[in-house]
């Protein structure tokens, strides 16, 4: 039954599930703080999430943080205990209830994430973040939602807000994620906010039919998100939007996890660089 479900064609009435992966690597965000700090970016992102929820009554959202050494769901989380306790905070007459629930949870969970420094200190590779982990969490989550939705009414997509550079160590797992996304028909959009281009994510966008774009004017982050990454899968059929033309298909070798220009394939599809 589920295998027959059509994820490719989108109807006007379909709900959209947006899985937002935010790269929260604090070290890189500090570097970019001059143009766009994480706090500011988060403000823009929350409005963007609200805009997505505003588009349609039954639109859904999930937010995952890809941190150093760990990836975590910011929304939804199983038991949002802290918020429901103090009732006078539960309803704000100036904000639509759905927006409020999502925004409050994202903010408070983000705080928790940053207060916990133990994983940060123990993890060796501080240059990059757990994009592969976050991607697989996103895919598992969408898969679960799609299975629960029997009539195929929910159309998922993934958006990655990326700041860290590629980590060759994650190449294999990222590629695996890309292939599963491709198979499920889930487009992966990538918004590159800071630092140099990431080859892997560019490939992800290219292979899944998503968009890869680099933010040019940091002050216009929200506007940039609204124009390029807000359109749902139905509207995209009719819109022409800027996309990256050139895609760099370089891989990293499976043996030393290094980026290579020429690789050798064995019959079981692994890549080697023949370096001893």
């Amino acid at each position: 039954m589920n295998a027959l479900k059509d994820t490719a064609t989108v109807n006007e009435d379909d709900a959209n599930l947006l899985v937002l992966i935010i790269d929260t690597n604090p070290l890189i965000w500090t570097k970019s703080a001059k143009s766009l700090s994480l706090k500011e970016a988060l403000r823009h992102l929350l409005v963007f999430i609200n805009a997505h929820l505003a588009l349609k009554h039954d639109n859904e959202v999930a937010v995952i943080a890809s941190h150093i050494g760990v990836s975590k769901f910011l929304y939804p989380i199983p038991n949002p205990s802290r918020l429901s306790e103090n009732t006078d905070q539960a309803v704000d007459s100036n904000l639509y209830q759905r927006f409020k629930v999502v925004n409050d949870q994202v903010i408070s969970n983000m705080k928790d994430l940053f207060e916990d420094v133990s994983t940060l200190n123990s993890y060796p590779d501080k240059a990059s973040s757990m994009i592969a982990g976050a991607l697989s969490m996103a895919l598992c989550y969408t898969n679960r939602i799609m299975r629960a939705d029997e009539i195929g009414h929910i159309k998922p997509r993934i958006l990655i807000i990326s700041i860290s550079p590629d980590s060759p160590y994650q190449y294999i797992s990222i590629m695996n994620c890309i292939f599963s996304a491709q198979k499920l028909g889930i487009p992966i959009d990538v918004c590159k906010v800071h630092s140099e281009e990431t080859v892997f994510l560019k490939q992800a966008a290219h292979l899944t039919g998503g968009r890869y774009l680099k933010l040019q004017i940091p002050q216009g982050f929200l506007q940039f998100l609204m124009i390029t990454f807000l359109p749902d899968r139905f509207t995209r059929n009719y819109q022409c939007l800027p996309g990256e033309e050139k895609v760099d298909f370089s891989a990293s070798c499976f043996c030393h996890k290094k980026m290579i220009d020429i690789g050798f394939l064995s019959s079981i599809r692994t890549v080697f660089n023949l370096q001893i």
Binding site: M1, E12, D13, A15, V47, N50, A51, A54, L55, K56, H57, D58, T87, D88, A90, V91, D92, S93, N94, L95, Y96, Q97, F99, K100, N103, A148, D149, E150, I151, H153, I154, I217, Q219, G220, L222, Q223, M226, I227, L230, P231, D232, F234, T235, N237, Y238, Q239, C240, L241
Partner: protein, 495 residues
């Protein structure tokens, strides 16, 4: 054939479209209303609004319509959608083109909708909650029961179930005004064809149809401000089910409204004059549009607690290819709706077994219910089990219901005038072409040189022929044989 009550989306939309611009500007002062109206727009229009909403703070950009056109693909379908979007936006005066050709977003809409997304301002548009927590808060199941009880009471009254008490004055006014019921011989209210059609709609459509009629009355009879009434409807749509909200924060008009809406089952108050109110599911799903789909998709995980009402909302009808129909319902109302087009056979504790027969469908058709309405009723109330199969309903049954309808219309009669005995093909074709261009021709046959025109076209075509004859006469009848009634033939006999 009376037309069906169209789906609420277009209906409430038409209602808004008819409002003058100042009223719309007033409406856009409430963020909750902005959000609700925004969701009524077609997808591309929503995207256009979002794309332009936050342009102002960075740099004031001036875009013309052709600039916007560059955003959509240069394909026929995409362009059609684009123009539809712009058209709707300008009709609701959300996005208009100014004299110099630049696109302008309605400033109060822009401001308030930004507030809505960012949570800014102090407009209290999304309902003010009570400061003190309620002592014994009714749970969601209770609210659902209350909503269904109130709403079904109205419907019961319409189908004339015994033992229903007289509904409130507002309800009576709405049903008579909307011509859902009319006074019969003995001053007793009787259900009309439109009423039957109304019963077949899903609940959300019913509620909106009802509210729009109410809006009409509110304006004329109760002297309420349309803007306030609409704002209140849209605010109710944005509230959270199971929460309590304060009555204090409402305007006097809205307090008056609340009484009526509580009567319809859209809200619950413990007692009249209570300081808090609870919106019910009928109210909170007002702006969601496709409630039937939503409830089946969402409620499987969230609201197994809703019990009976949840089941009715989700659908309970199973139709088999042999025209047998099983309805898992105990509701008298649903059973009397089914009785409109089915022959009930047996009633069990939790289900009814009925047959769809030629006679039963013909009876419904005679009441003015169309085949399409029956089919859409069966579709929207189909049991979840049925929803898994494609096509949802057995095609044999669907086709047969349509055939039964066509069978009743085996002969189509149109009053008309028949033109015949043209002298030659040229004349015939000339007159026919003229009449066709004006769209009067019902039937024509070149071999027999006959055609018929509608009642209204007759005068026109006759004058045309007379004019032509007059021309021929003045021309001296030079072209022998090609004129309509050449001079020596005298005037045509036009009866």
């Amino acid at each position: 054939m009376p037309t069906a009550v169209t789906h609420f989306k277009t209906n409430i939309y038409e209602c808004l479209e008819a409002l003058p611009k100042p009223t719309l500007d007033q409406l856009y002062k409430e963020p909750a209303t902005c959000l609700a109206i925004f969701r009524l727009l077609p997808p591309l229009a929503r995207q256009l609004v979002m794309s332009l909403l936050f342009t102002q703070p960075i740099s004031p950009v001036n875009l013309t319509q052709s600039d916007l056109r560059l955003w959509v693909k240069n394909e026929e379908e995409a362009l059609a959608k684009f123009h539809e979007a712009l058209d709707k936006l300008s009709k609701l005066s959300i996005m208009t083109t100014d004299s110099s050709g630049y696109i302008q977003i309605n400033s109060s809409f822009r401001e308030r909708f930004q507030d809505c997304l960012t949570g800014g301002g102090d407009h209290q548009s999304f309902g003010v909650s009570c400061e003190r927590p309620a002592k014994d808060k009714p749970d969601i199941a209770f609210l659902d029961r209350h909503a269904m009880k109130q709403w079904e009471e109205i419907l019961h009254f319409m189908v004339g179930t015994e033992s229903t008490r007289q509904p409130s004055a507002a309800v009576l006014k709405v049903v008579t005004r909307a011509k859902l019921m009319k006074e019969g011989k003995d001053k007793q209210l009787m259900i009309t064809n439109k009423g039957f059609q109304f019963l077949l709609q899903d609940v959300n459509t019913q509620v909106w149809a009802f509210l729009i009629q109410y809006l009409d009355i509110a304006d004329e009879l109760l002297h309420m401000n349309v803007v306030e009434v609409l704002n209140f409807f849209f605010m109710l749509g944005s509230l959270e089910l199971g929460m309590d909200y304060s009555v204090e924060a409402l305007t006097p008009t809205q307090k008056q409204l609340l009484d009526d809406l509580a009567n319809f089952g859209l809200a619950y108050r413990r007692k009249k004059g209570s300081s808090r109110y609870y919106p019910t599911r009928l109210a909170t799903t007002l702006t969601s549009g496709n409630s039937a789909v939503v409830s089946s998709a969402v409620s499987s995980s969230t609201s197994t607690t809703t019990g009976d009402d949840g089941a009715t909302e989700q659908g309970f009808i199973i139709v088999e290819t042999n025209y047998k129909l099983y309805a898992y319902t105990e509701s008298k109302l649903q059973i009397s709706v089914l009785r409109l087009f089915c022959e009930l056979q047996t009633r069990f504790a939790n289900m009814v077994y009925a047959l769809i027969t030629r006679d039963s469908v013909r009876k419904a058709l005679k009441h003015g219910i169309t085949a399409n309405q029956i089919i859409s009723y069966l579709t929207s109330h189909a049991h979840p089990q049925m929803k898994k199969q494609t096509p949802l309903l057995p095609p044999t049954v669907v086709d047969q219901i349509r055939l039964w309808e066509m069978e009743r219309n085996r002969l189509v009669a149109t009053e008309c005038h028949l033109y015949k005995e043209f002298r030659n093909q040229g004349d015939y074709e000339m007159v026919l072409r003229h009449a066709t261009n004006l769209g009067f021709v019902i039937w024509s046959n070149a071999k027999k040189r006959m055609f018929s025109v509608t009642e209204e076209g007759h005068e026109h075509v006759r004058n045309y022929i007379k004019k032509k004859i007059a021309q021929r006469k003045t021309n001296g009848g030079g072209e022998a044989g090609s004129g309509i009634g050449t001079p020596n033939n005298g005037s045509p006999s036009v009866r």
